[in-house]
Amino acid sequence: RAAPSRAPGAADTASMLRATSAGRGMASPGLLRAALSVMPRETDAAAAAAVPFAAQAQPAEAPRRVPVPVPQAHLGHFVAPPPCTSLELVLPRAYGEWPMYRVMGLDGHVEPGAELPDLSVETWHKFHTIMLQLRAADDVFMSAQRQGRVSFYMASTGEEAMHVGSAAALSPSDVVFGQYRELGVLFYRGFPMQGLADQLVANEDDYGSARQMGVHVGSKEHNFFTISSPLATQLPQAVGAAYALKHRRGLEGAGSAAADSVAVAYIGEGAASEGDAYVAMNFAATLDLPVVFFVRNNGYAISTPAREQYRGDGVVSRCAGFGMAGVRVDGNDVHAVYAATKAAREMALRESRPVLIEAMSYRVGHHSTSDDSTRYRDPEEMEAWKSSDPLLRLERFLRLRGLSDEVHEARLRDAARVEVLRALEEAERKPKPTLEKLFTDVYHDVPKHIREQEEGLMAHLAAKAGQ
């Protein structure tokens, strides 16, 4: 609105209104009209100019405050805390920094004051074995891609504890929505190495019918939804799946599988910048859903370091804004990851609410076979993170308890490598899927127009072969 022009000494309309209403209890229609118009009218302005406000007698004491009644019924969204009369722009440092939970030190000892999760020795050995299998798979398949034997691969080197620690805390009926760097979760749940090799080679046995790039695996049997390349899309989907579990629990009752299941979504700190990540957290919190968001903060999104990804305290600090519970954990400490995931899962299930775990780790390898991280990474940084290597830490832990030694570890490493090589060779012996797989599963049935296109391709290839 344009500011009303002022004759010298003229009162503004609002003051006129106040003066009149204080005296008479309500404004005259003429004064109200003047107050509501953008420009004060000439006659009113002239009248006001005749008696400048400042010249009027001031009341002897301040006017008595008459409290304005506030309806006791709630004001909807407006929380209405007692008003604060000092203006302060709150800086982020006031929110503090979230602590990082740790159980096992870099040297393999349990930290003083920490509680080691009560797991069996068999489980610790399973941690070790699966981590080694993953490490072996990463080594073999990275090399295989350089040799042209697989088209694409993404290694999880340095992040193995996040995979096995979290997977160990889940139930087989929990539904998992991964990003792409969670193969250890799949292995821990029982997915065979051959399944990964088949997917990477893209042969006829691939669960996904050889339609996707490498590591884009999925297995219905293991409740692991198929990976897709678009980032963070899996988060709102996990939230929808959690709604299905919650709704089923309502229908099927306390003893059902749904009643004991949560949805789990994995995501990196980079992908957590995507809109889908924010949206999923808001939906999960607002709809009170049993979902665990596991954020792998490994320091890099391809070449982009975390300090170029966000300005706040990592990802877990966003929990406050969403009204969601959260915890930060040492992602290279398999025991801490296990404990945090177990606790988060229980809270999500028991209280039907989302929980976010931010696991701090480091991406030791390249982003993928299409990346050369030496172009953007400091070799000193990479060297520094070796002391925190999750596999080494677990091995130190096991050795301290007499559960492992160099010979045992070497044997496991060799066995893991042999298994991966065997799976790769086996995968390479298998043929591509038949060409009809190009055209099926677009829809539930093959519609006529796609069938006609398939016939066209077959005819084209037949003609080509005949030439």
Binding site: G208, A210, N223, D276
Partner: protein, 374 residues
């Protein structure tokens, strides 16, 4: 392993020949009825279904009510659906089925889509509303990159066949750029989706129920101008109209007119005006745009030799382009004139110029006369 998904308890009825007499009262015989007459019906023939006068939002409401009744895991959600929806399509549903079945989501179309996909990926029925088709674009990534590809990319281990996205579309008289769009062409370009648009209340109810039950993700665009304005007798009870089958609403010999949604009313008026000039128009409602029934249109064009396609959306790369390209491939020898499109201009949808922007009956008639005189 996950428990098996809930199945609808009662199978929907197909609209049978017995209902023809009732539906055709005051209306022309549609190919829907022809289609069902010729089929070997497995189910027992039904008595004449009761009809009720409904507008389009009531018919859509009825369809959702039936879906929620038949399937205890079906849910309806979106922005403002709890109180009944900004177009009243979900009135009464929350009261009848409860807050866990019919609920508001936070204000985010990408969230609504992703959430719906996750729910459907678990094997259940999700009916998600995008409040206006103009706002469907934040959901585009989820719908195109995820929903459409869920089955294919997983080797058929997973799918989101239980997903139906409903969204009001089209001109409404005062909607301007962002309450008038018809974005169907963005989605017809996406293999894996089905795209459906009804022309009235009875069609809307049957097509929506078909979408909800179709084992593929469907996008159901609802011409908002018809919510109140279109009133007709709609069969009570459960029925579906087959997807992928066009409806020859009116037989004719000289020109084939093809459209969908609200545009059929425009084409009807143009056909009536053409009839006064002695031009007989065959009128076809595609109903399903993806996959679309090109065989029915081709059969018609082989007879008439002339095709006019009309839609509100901008002409360039609108779905009329697909219809034109496919039909000229199939019917080149039969064509007596170029295939002509009467569509919106290649501009954003204007407010004050809406009447001039829209492909109205006069523009369609002009095209009809041009192709007839070619």
């Amino acid at each position: 392993p996950l428990p098996p998904p809930a199945r609808p308890m009662l199978a929907p009825r197909r609209l049978h020949g017995a209902s023809r007499a009732v539906l055709s009262a005051g209306r022309r015989l549609s190919s829907l009825q022809q289609h069902h007459e010729l089929r070997e019906d497995v189910e027992a023939p039904l008595a004449e279904p009761a009809l009720k006068s409904m507008n389009m939002f009531t018919a859509i409401n009825d369809a959702m009510r039936i879906a929620l009744e038949r399937d205890p895991m079906a849910i309806v959600f979106g922005e403002d659906v709890a109180f009944g929806g900004v177009f009243r399509c979900s009135v009464g549903l929350r009261e009848q089925f409860g807050p866990s079945r019919v609920f508001n989501t936070p204000l985010s179309e990408q969230g609504i889509a992703g959430f719906a996909i996750g729910y459907a990926a678990m094997g259940h029925t999700a009916v998600a509303e995008m409040q206006f088709a103009d706002y469907i674009f934040p959901a585009f990534d989820q719908l195109v990159n995820e929903a459409a590809k869920y089955r294919y990319r997983s080797g058929n281990q997973f799918n989101v066949g239980g997903l139906t996205v409903r969204s009001p579309c089209g001109a409404v008289g005062h909607g301007g750029l962002y309450h008038s769009q018809s974005p169907e062409a963005y989605f017809t370009h996406t293999p894996g989706l089905k795209v459906v648009m009804p022309r009235g209340p009875a069609e809307a109810k049957g097509l929506l129920l078909a979408c909800i039950r179709d084992p593929n993700p469907c996008i159901f665009f609802e011409p908002k101008a018809l919510y109140r304005a279109a009133v007709e007798d709609v069969p009570e009870g459960d029925y579906t109209i087959e997807l992928g089958v066009a409806d020859v609403m009116r037989a004719g010999d000289d020109v084939t007119l093809v459209g969908w949604g609200g545009q059929l009313r425009v084409l009807e008026r143009a056909a009536d005006k053409a009839a006064e000039l002695g031009i007989s128009c065959e009128l076809i409602d595609l109903r399903t745009l993806l996959p679309w029934d090109y065989d029915t249109v081709a059969e018609s064009v082989r007879k008439t030799g002339r095709l006019v396609v009309s839609h509100e959306a901008p002409v360039t790369s609108g779905f009329g382009a697909e219809v034109s390209a496919k039909i000229q491939e199939m019917c080149f020898d039969s064509l007596e004139a170029p295939i002509t499109r009467v569509c919106g201009y290649d501009t954003p949808f204007p407010l004050i110029f809406e009447p001039e922007y829209l492909p109205d009956a006069d523009k369609v008639l002009e095209a009809v006369r041009r192709v007839t005189a070619y």
